[in-house]
Each structure stands twice: as structure tokens, then as C-alpha cells.
Amino acid sequence: MASNLEQIANWIRRRDLQSVYEAGAGHVGGEMSVIDILTALYFRILSVNPEQPQDPDRDRLVLSKGHTANALYVVLAKRGFIPQDEISTFLKPMSRLNGHPNRTKVPGIETNTGPLGHGLPVAVGMAKAAKLDKAAWRTFVITGDGEMQEGSNWEAIMAAAQFGLDNLTLIIDHNRLQQGARLLDTNNLAPFAPKLEAFGWAVEEIDGHDMDAICAALSSETVVKGKPKCVVAHTNKGQGISFMSDNVAWHHKVPDSVQYEQAMKELEGTAS
């Protein structure tokens, strides 16, 4: 089962890389780190229907690290929310696929992100709405690890625990790098788990590139009653491409043609 997801993730990595290369901009490092999580969500976990993107009972996914929008666009296209042809318009004049996701233009997107530290508070509101309606749908939100430096996240973390939002899952894409440096050299938040636990959350730490582990951690069977859940996903920025992996230079650098060929070759080598 997981190997099928791995194949999809590999395709998404290649399409994402192509898109960043052709557009001449994008956030390839953080896209490579989050693609396995997005793939598991959209192709296994989330109850969503591209035919009815506004179904009131759908699960919600908020990509709070909105700078990796291109990865989400590719996933949404692969899942049938938008035409696959449209990916090539990424960042082009008048395209609806700008550098950060926009729900008023792109079906499947729940809230507009880009300024870091917005997704989690909105996700708390979503989960609270489901609780008020005693509805079964779940809310997932993905933040960057650097993004967790925003104080708004910790206000939301307190609220979610207070409200007992066990229908809310926060996935921290813990790739240890932010824009200009390592978290360690900027404002280190690691380890995340004890902090979230101290705030009253159920926490699980996983390898964020292990599909089985991702699927297990996000499955409804592992929900802890009465507590919001945080999955600390240990990832690599630039995962899958040797010279990008764990390299701070690749936050938003664009590969030249030689680098592009090499990266594609590496990704093709791991496609089965």
C-alpha cells in the first residue's frame, strides 16, 4: 500500500521540481520536505472529493507553510481538484497559481496562507466548528518548524488544548532549517515534543518520509480522546535530492540546468 503512495510522492516531487525550474522561482527545499506528508494526506487520510470541494463534511487541510504552495498545487492537480495542465502556469502573469495558496481562486484550498503563523489559529476555529456541530470531519494543519517561532501558534496551541480539540492534528514539518539559517542558530525550538506535551497536547514523533509511519500517525485510530494531536515529523529540507538535502542554501534557490538534470535523474532513480 505504502509503495503506491511512494510512487505518487515521487511523481509529485518531479513535477514540483520541474515547475520551480520553469517558473524560475519557488521554495523547493520546503516542498521536498512536505511532499510525503501531503501525499499521505490527500491519497490516504483526508476524506475530500474533488467533485465537491465545498462538501460541508469534508476533512480540512491547512498548509500553513504557504510558501510551499507549488507542492500543494501539484498534489491538488494529481488528485483532480485542478487540471494537471494548469501547473505550468505557476507564477505566470494572471495565473491563479501564485506563490501562496488562495482559496478564492483554487478549489481545494481552505484558507489563504503566506504570512507564517496563520494556519493553526484558523484550524483551531475549523475544529471548534466541527465540535459545535458534533460533526465527524477532522482538521489537519501543517506548519514549518521555523514558523513555530511565531507567537500566534502558541496562542492557538493553548486554545486547542483548552477546547479539547481531539479532531485537530498539527503536523510540524521539522526539517531543522528556516529561511536563512538552521533553527539551532536562530531561535531553537527543538525539542518540540515536550513543549507541546506541556501545553496539554498528545504528541507523536515520526520519520516524516516514512509513508507507513505518516499514515499511522494521522489515522483516526490513533486519536487521543480529549486532546489535540501534534505529529512532529522529522524531515529533510530538499529530501530526495542529494545536494539540496539538509542544505540551507535551497530554501528558495532555483536549480540551474545542470543541477536540474542531476536532481531529476536522482528522483527518477528512486521512482519504481
Binding site: P93, N102, N112, G114, P115, N187
Partner: protein, 322 residues
């Protein structure tokens, strides 16, 4: 796209900003930089290399960043708080109001990549409300330099000024406009082109477009005065009244929403002091679509040709109201 002309060298004003900042940093060890994981985008890596302990990177936490800046000022430092203008002014607006403006702390707010410099990244990253937001606060001069000379002059002025201010910088390339020896004077517009039929008032990335528009108008028999109005608050009322009286029509151009920015500041003076026909060019109250800053400025009628056309239409209105 018909601006800027292909043969003119364009400059990223961040370079003039950091060169001046380092010079000031050499002269006065109280000069410090505060930023939000924005060493690269603020171009302050040179400052960081020279004085690592005076580069205070709080991480991705803008509210904290501005608060820390205010505290550093209280402790006798001269903090240049540098961040993408959208996050600096949007996220930390209440810190700017309470900790900087109201508390009157000696904090230099430096909004980088303002306007639509982050065009393709979308409206979250466009900083086209910052004139309005900061201009609404007492006690914070709002300054948008037009080229690298004026940027350097404004940064030096900010250091010498005892109090808060907001410098609104772009990364979008602009040609040289002002003379090398230009000295920045707060609240004083520069008349960079003489004319009597209409006045174009612009600042920041729009000044050179207004200058090119004035050249187009000249070919069509209209003489346009151009005022480079770097200071949006305190606005140069005298220059505006003089322009209204002597040219009878005013067109404003800004990389900002038309609600509350340079055009509004000019209109406030015109309405109160000397009503004449006016037109405000800017982003017309929408979240801009995807595109580069230059593409979007053209789309919103601020190519030199677009500005010239608006000026011609305005002059016709003036004749009708004579």
C-alpha cells in the same frame, strides 16, 4: 512594458541602504540591526559578518522583533528594524503603534520589498497598505525614497533623527534620478521637473515612471511638473498648494492602494487648502493578481504611457472646470 527604458542602468536600493548602514555602524557602535530570519532578504549579511553581536535575529516573530527594537532603543541603542514591509507593518502594527509611536522610541523601521516587489508571491506579500497604516499613526515620519542616492540620504537622516521613523524601501530596480550630493530633508518635496500644465506627484518606484511620463507629455505639448514626494508624513503642504495654484491639476502615482496613501495625503491638502481637479493612480482597492511589480504597475495604469494618458485626461477636466 515600456518602463523603465532598456538602456538605463537599474539599481536595487537595498544596496545603498546596507552600504550606508555599515558606514553608520562603523561610526557609532550603538547602531544595531533587528530582523526576522530576513538577513538575506534585508541584505544585512555584510553587517552581520562585521558585527555579529549587533545583528539581532529574533527568528520568524515580527511582533517580538518590533518590541525588542523598542527595548533596545530604551537601552540607548539605535535599532534599524528590518523586515519585509508586509510583515513588519501588518503583523506588528500594534507594536509599532504602542511601543514605537506612542512610546516615542528611537526605532528606525525599515520595510524591505514594499509595494508589489513580491509580485508573484501574491497579495499576502504585497505591502500596499503600509503608507496608510503607518501614516495614520502620530509621531512616525513615513519616507519612500526614489533611487539609491535618496535611499542613502534618507538612511543617514534616519540615524541623525532622534525618534521613530518608517523607511519604505523596494528591491525593484530603479534608475538614478537625484544628484549625488542630494541631502534628504524631511517633509520637503523635490521639484525634479518644471512645468505649468499639470503636476505629477510620485515617490519610490513611481518617480522615474512619472519622469518618463512627463517626457512623453512634453512631446504632446503639455508641460508637466514632477514632484518627488518621498515624505508621505509630514506631507509637504506648501509644495502641494503651490502646485495646485500654479498648474491647476494634480495627478498622484504610487505603488500602494489608492485608499489612504500618497494620493490621499495630497488630496487632504488639496481639499482643505486649494481645491483643483485631481486623479489618484495606484492599486484600485483590489488584491492584485499574479505578476511582477512592473507588470502589475503597468496593468494598473502606471506605465509612463498610462500616467501620461491620465494626465492628459486630467488636463481636459481642468479646462472644463475653468
Amino acid at each position: 512594458m515600456n518602463a523603465p527604458a532598456a538602456n538605463v542602468a537599474l539599481h536595487d536600493c537595498r544596496d545603498a541602504f546596507v552600504a550606508t548602514l555599515e558606514r553608520l555602524g562603523e561610526e557609532d557602535r550603538n547602531v544595531v540591526v533587528v530582523c526576522n530570519d530576513s538577513v538575506g532578504s534585508s541584505k544585512v549579511s555584510g553587517f552581520q559578518d562585521r558585527w555579529p553581536e549587533r545583528l539581532i535575529n529574533v527568528g520568524i516573530a515580527e511582533q517580538n522583533m518590533v518590541g525588542v527594537g523598542a527595548g533596545l532603543a530604551n537601552g540607548g541603542k539605535i535599532p534599524f528594524v528590518c523586515a519585509a514591509s508586509c510583515f513588519l507593518t501588518g503583523r506588528a502594527l500594534e507594536q509599532i503603534k504602542a511601543d514605537v509611536a506612542y512610546s516615542d522610541t528611537n526605532v528606525k523601521l525599515v520595510g524591505i520589498s514594499s509595494g508589489m516587489a513580491y509580485g508573484e508571491l501574491g497579495a499576502t506579500h504585497h505591502s500596499i497598505e503600509d503608507f496608510a497604516w503607518i501614516r495614520a499613526l502620530p509621531n512616525v515620519p513615513v519616507i519612500a525614497p526614489a533611487d539609491r542616492v535618496e535611499t542613502a540620504a534618507a538612511v543617514a537622516w534616519a540615524k541623525s533623527y532622534d525618534g521613530p521613523c518608517f523607511l519604505r524601501l523596494s528591491r525593484v530596480g530603479v534608475p538614478d534620478l537625484l544628484p549625488e550630493d542630494h541631502v534628504f530633508a524631511l517633509g520637503k518635496a523635490d521639484r525634479i521637473c518644471d512645468g505649468g500644465d499639470v503636476t505629477l506627484i510620485a515617490n519610490g518606484t513611481l518617480t522615474h515612471r512619472a519622469m518618463t511620463a512627463a517626457a512623453l507629455l512634453k512631446k504632446r505639448g503639455l508641460s508637466a511638473r514632477v514632484l518627488n514626494m518621498a515624505t508621505v508624513r509630514p506631507i509637504d503642504g506648501d509644495a502641494i498648494v503651490e502646485a495646485a495654484r500654479e498648474t491647476g491639476a494634480i495627478l498622484t502615482c504610487e505603488e500602494h492602494t489608492v485608499f489612504g496613501g500618497l494620493g490621499s495625503a495630497v488630496a487632504e491638502v488639496v481639499v482643505d487648502e486649494f481645491p483643483v481637479p485631481m486623479k489618484r493612480l495606484g492599486v484600485p482597492g483590489v488584491f492584485a493578481p499574479t505578476g511582477s511589480a512592473n507588470f502589475l504597475l503597468d496593468e494598473f495604469g502606471m506605465s509612463p504611457e498610462g500616467i501620461a494618458e491620465s494626465a492628459e485626461a486630467l488636463v481636459k477636466r481642468k479646462r472644463h472646470s475653468d
